[in-house]
Symmetry: none
Subunit: 429 residues, 2 copies
Amino acid sequence: MSRKKAAPARPQRVTVIAVGDELLNGFIVNTNAAWLGRALAGVGCTVVHGHTIGDSVESIASTITSALPGSDVVVISGGLGPTSDDRTRAGMARAAGVELARHAEAEQALRDHLSQQGREPLVQHLVQVDLPDGATPLINSAGTAPGVRMVIGGVLVVALPGPPGELRAVAETGLLPELRRRGGVVRTKSLRTALMPESEVAALVGPIEAKHPEVTIAYLAAPAEVVVRLTASGADEKTLGSVVDEASEDVREVLGDAVVGDADLSLAQAVVGLLAKAARTVAVAESLTGGSVASAITDVPGASVVLRGGVVCYSTESKRDVLGVDPELLDREGPVHAGVAREMAARARELFGADYGVGTTGVAGPAPQGERPVGRVHVAVVGPTTTVDVELHLHGDREAIRRQAAVQALDLLRRTVLGLPPRKGAVSD
Amino acid sequence: MSRKKAAPARPQRVTVIAVGDELLNGFIVNTNAAWLGRALAGVGCTVVHGHTIGDSVESIASTITSALPGSDVVVISGGLGPTSDDRTRAGMARAAGVELARHAEAEQALRDHLSQQGREPLVQHLVQVDLPDGATPLINSAGTAPGVRMVIGGVLVVALPGPPGELRAVAETGLLPELRRRGGVVRTKSLRTALMPESEVAALVGPIEAKHPEVTIAYLAAPAEVVVRLTASGADEKTLGSVVDEASEDVREVLGDAVVGDADLSLAQAVVGLLAKAARTVAVAESLTGGSVASAITDVPGASVVLRGGVVCYSTESKRDVLGVDPELLDREGPVHAGVAREMAARARELFGADYGVGTTGVAGPAPQGERPVGRVHVAVVGPTTTVDVELHLHGDREAIRRQAAVQALDLLRRTVLGLPPRKGAVSD
């Protein structure tokens, strides 16, 4: 890398401390850690150590203290709520050797927030604005517990609320911008693929790792979806950017039309964007996916422009009576059949007056349905000029099968709108 | 607690160390931690500290060494595989001050395993049976990397492979039975509530914490749902059981009909169970929830007995044309209105021939809808003899509003089936 004038920023070493008995005893999965890891990497920080500890002032204080020497930043998640087991504020105060005191500004913000709902603060609410002396509250647009920012022994210590929506809201406004200013430069690019097994993605992308040794390539697999992430770090922003762009173009080329797009967008977001751009609408008829395809589409802000509606026809009678699937076909073949999926898609399209119709039927389990084994799924898409369907033989539990079927439905819609044929072969390892 | 003859077993303090760069940078979610937490609690162990560290011999060794003084057992997950970034065996050896050596018995087991598949071991395979001197391999029925068991400084140190299926297989045969013999007894009970803010739950349950000091009470909040968990540990199983039962009855009493049931069941599972027991069926008509109520119900195995079907009528036209909501009402009041929610519920009930109909309409955001602000939601349930509806003024982002509306829909259905009136007031903090 060429010599430039030394950047004042440098990669920040972060220790993340997750607080909560419910994490230690396995009552909940700590999804915050992964979100924080990705978000921190995105602003040039490296998580060097993660801790999970219980709801005790003493262990919060001692873990903060032990983390200070090896960290530039300590991020704490959880323990900021209103109940007696929320001890993070007290733990920070003890680590800093200061007292807790009611923070006037934070109290006013809390009172304003509650009065909008016609409520008065309870004692439990007010506990949330008892902050360590010298600490600053961080605005929480998604709840009542503010984040807490302070400096202890020269190290930035920031506490975020535990509920994931609140953690993200506070981190995005109160933590990441400050770290972005401190950190070095990291360039990442992530591509989302659908319906290609991780082993196949890795086999195709492998040679590109050798070609671009300065780029780190990682894979993140979910049922029927794989994200390929490319990362490079250093000090020269411009070089980094072109290095990552080049490698990402190579990845796009080998993976072809299995690439849905940038991984910052979900598959549903990509499909809604595609339909909106083409000024096309869609309606869905769901059996085994039970509303999850419609729900994924309506998760996307602005979905009302493209989704005309949907029918969840879980019973054979509702396929016949509500949707109007041919009774003879249902009698002859049963509900798990390619022709039924095609008719479901066509009827949904007609019923709601949409440009595209999507149909899903199959056996999610746990029990087989007549002669159809668990995992047998049919998905169809009917458009203005085409009808396509695929038969899947899926593995995994009920949840995994439903999820893969929903991905298949969304991706078959994407491919049909783009004029691509359905993908053949296995969709997951 | 009464004096009994001293039990030889006592609760074991466990430190769990998760090894892997991919955990620190957030590329994968550490689901092993939650599984281990629950499994260890089930054999009378308490996880006192969790660590997440990178793939380095030095940090593995130093984290083990630092954990020894406060632990009876150290459990390590990950880093036992065949590749160059699998360093757990070397880290254990360094912590114990011993060398790695090929373990003859483990090598033979590996050769036998591979030869059953007609394969010879590669160099990469054999690395997996280079164990610290004095360590014992633990059989892995789900893969090729054995677990590793040794004693360092009087503390049991056990390493498990990282892939979840392999971790569980090795833990169940090689770790949990030994811990069950060493550990004490833990009793827990968890109750799920719906539509009561966490601050209100905590205010009501607080006095019970004082009444039962031997029981630890914790709260876990999700949008519009709170789980209250009671835990007690010790040596006398019978006493513990009755102590937890008594406290849990007290909690039930103060929280009243906000308690949905045992927290092992989701709200949707509880509702499906209730309907199945009453031999009643349901159909849903969803606008802002966009299929997520139907999807939550169909997530439950056996949902087909109670769910007749659903309609996602996201557009005003589909409310009128597909569902048959009164066009005059829609013209006069717009789609976000109590009367529309009631009609949606009634039409869904008729269309699918169900006992109960559920209707949801409202503004999820990001933009208001005419005069209706973001967060204004109407939910209605129509049953054989009753029609109920509630108006909600919800806060949070699109996802939080949709989630709270879905919880309200499921819980209003639960309350109506039980003959309870709708809950009034705020549903979340």
